[in-house]
């Protein structure tokens, strides 16, 4: 269930990416054919990047996509050292929970200041709040991983 949610979020990120591809290509077309640069493209790209990265982050974690160093893999799987796996996962989860909390504070701060993009005046706080939610989901993935490897 949880995995399907993360996959659905990542697919939403993929849909945003397809849209971004279309947007940038359309911007090129507008500039060369109609000589009409699309002024909002720059900031829409910025916001799209936030969506793509943070919708995909927990899915990447759940599917083991984040890069780690595996030189000592066999050594760490020995019974005497098995405890390191859950411990490292929980430490990561704690850090990500802290990041989620700080990112939420950052998002609320920018809502209070009314921060928005330059041209289209799109408010940025919902995107920043998504960052916080993504970090929180990432933390949950790591807690589940620690539980599985206990």
């Amino acid at each position: 269930m949880f995995d399907r949610l993360l996959r659905a979020l990542a697919l939403c990120g993929g849909a945003v990416l397809l849209g971004l591809m279309g947007l940038v290509a359309f911007d090129v077309l507008m500039r060369y054919v109609l000589r009409l640069p699309f002024l909002g493209a720059y900031e829409m790209t910025e916001l799209a990047m936030a969506l793509i990265v943070f919708l995909g982050l927990p899915y990447c974690a759940a599917t083991g996509g984040h890069v780690s160093v595996d030189v000592l893999g066999e050594l760490l799987e020995r019974p005497a050292l098995r405890w390191t796996g859950p411990l490292v996962n929980l430490a990561g989860a704690a850090l990500l929970a802290l990041m989620a909390w700080q990112a939420a504070l950052f998002a609320l701060g920018s809502r209070d200041r009314g921060e928005a993009t330059n041209m289209l005046r799109i408010e940025t706080w919902p995107f920043e709040l998504l960052t916080a939610a993504s970090m929180a989901l990432f933390a949950l993935v790591l807690v589940r991983e620690a539980w599985r490897r206990r």
Binding site: G22, V28, E43, A50, G65, L95, Q102, E128
Partner: protein
């Protein structure tokens, strides 16, 4: 505690966490935040944890990463890799070792569509390994050439590694891409030369394939036309100043998608998988980038990079001497660390030294890319070797590594040529039209 001592303790802690298999981005964030809390203030550390993930992801210039990754994934679906191999095979397959040389050429071509070595090795491995087995190629040559050829993915543009290097050092992505073109072709030529020499020495390693009629050769060459069009439009567009890097990536992704649709290879399931795979790779790269950005203020506060730079310049070593030391250090690190990890960990430390020595930062990016490629195929954790092992499951690891050795030596030769003639990397970016 002095800043230097805190810095050294932090780096030791980082290495311990990495060897305990903590994801690189998380480990760098953890140590970086702790270090900033100690050397600056806990408030500064909390701010970086809260603000940096968003502010280092929501950047217009970074759109090049998911867009080029998407282009590579569409190219893998559309069968362009197979077309490239068929074209190369048609012209040189009948020579001794020809299938292996064709693999190198097809890898180089696929590298121009894809920014990842792993994707190149997987795609070309699936296409060319069965062919080489059919003609009874020596398994060492067959697997070694795929593992080595796949590494061209990070040297020939577009390259994810060069994008990350550009972001870490604030160099231009377009200039780095163009700087990779000629060294990439040089390395391709050196790989082909390695195959030819090996097969001259031991003819049974690479028996000749079937000779095709001229008409069939041109038909195969025409099959590679969509590939040529995409590469000319994207990389040529960047060189000619027609496209920004982002625009080239978006247009390239759109064209490869159109090609895959036209070939009826891109159904709903394939599209969904390509998107999921792209988003996953993007998230992987950005977690590392975010970690690197949280870590690098700590490194700067510890003053280790600037101290190291002044020590090394004080020794009055020649630039070539320093590069030789760095090459040795990277080769050792490459045995243990994954490419991205090695780059985000070392570039912030090494870069001030490079600048102090007056070495061109774009040239150094190419140097780092080649050295990382060597790490991708060195024992015990060369990632491309595991990829090839996944395709060629009945070949023991030892034989794959033995097959890689000659190509690894060719890479050393390539680094030597680049040190002697830095213009090979710099001539294209320096003549780029704006």
């Amino acid at each position: 505690m002095s800043p230097t001592l805190v810095g050294l303790a932090g780096m030791a802690a980082l290495l311990v966490l990495l060897f305990l298999r903590m994801p690189i981005g998380i480990a760098m964030s953890l140590v970086g935040a702790a270090g900033v809390a100690l050397l600056n203030s806990p408030q500064a550390a909390l701010h970086s944890l809260g603000a940096f993930p968003y502010s280092h992801a929501a950047v217009q210039a970074f759109a090049v990463i998911p867009l080029f990754v998407l282009m590579g994934n569409f190219a893998a679906v559309s069968g362009m890799g197979k077309d490239l191999y068929a074209a190369a095979y048609a012209w040189i397959g009948h020579r001794r070792g020809g299938l292996a040389s064709a693999t190198v050429l097809a890898c180089a071509g696929f590298a121009a569509l894809s920014g990842s070595s792993v994707a190149s090795a997987v795609t070309m491995g699936r296409v060319s390994l069965p062919e080489m087995e059919r003609y009874r190629y020596d398994t060492r040559l067959a697997t070694g050439v795929i593992a080595a050829g796949g590494t061209l993915g990070i040297l020939i543009p577009p390259s994810t590694v060069l994008v990350v290097y550009a972001l870490l050092t604030e160099e231009s992505i377009g200039r780095l891409f163009l700087a990779g073109v000629l060294p990439g072709l040089l390395l391709t030529a050196l790989f082909v030369a390695t195959v030819v020499l090996l097969c001259a020495w031991r003819p049974q390693y690479g028996p000749p394939g079937e000779r095709l009629a001229l008409r069939a050769r041109f038909a195969a060459l025409a099959g590679a036309a969509p590939f040529v069009a995409v590469v000319l439009i994207t990389i040529g567009g960047i060189y000619a100043g027609v496209f920004t890097v982002n625009e080239a990536a978006a247009v390239g992704a759109l064209l490869t998608m159109a090609h895959a649709l036209w070939r009826r290879r891109l159904g709903f399931a394939a599209l969904r998988d390509a998107l999921l795979q792209t988003v996953r790779t993007t998230a992987m790269v950005f977690l590392i980038l975010i970690g690197a950005h949280i870590f690098s203020p700590f490194l700067a506060l510890s003053r280790i990079p600037s101290d190291l730079a002044s020590v090394l310049t004080g020794l009055e070593l020649s630039a070539a001497g320093v590069l030789a030391i760095l090459l040795a250090a990277y080769l050792v690190l490459g045995m243990f660390l994954e490419g991205f990890a090695m780059m985000v960990l070392t570039v912030p430390i090494v870069f001030p030294i490079i600048i102090a020595l007056g070495i061109d930062p774009v040239w150094f990016g190419i140097f780092v890319a080649i050295v990382l490629e060597m790490g991708l195929i060195s024992p015990p954790v060369g990632i491309n070797v595991f990829v090839v092992k996944g395709v060629a499951q009945d070949v023991p690891m030892g034989r794959i590594f033995a097959g890689i050795m000659p190509f690894w030596l060719a890479m050393i030769v390539c680094v030597g040529i680049l040190v002697a003639f830095p213009q090979i990397a710099l001539v294209l970016p320096n003549s780029m039209m704006r």
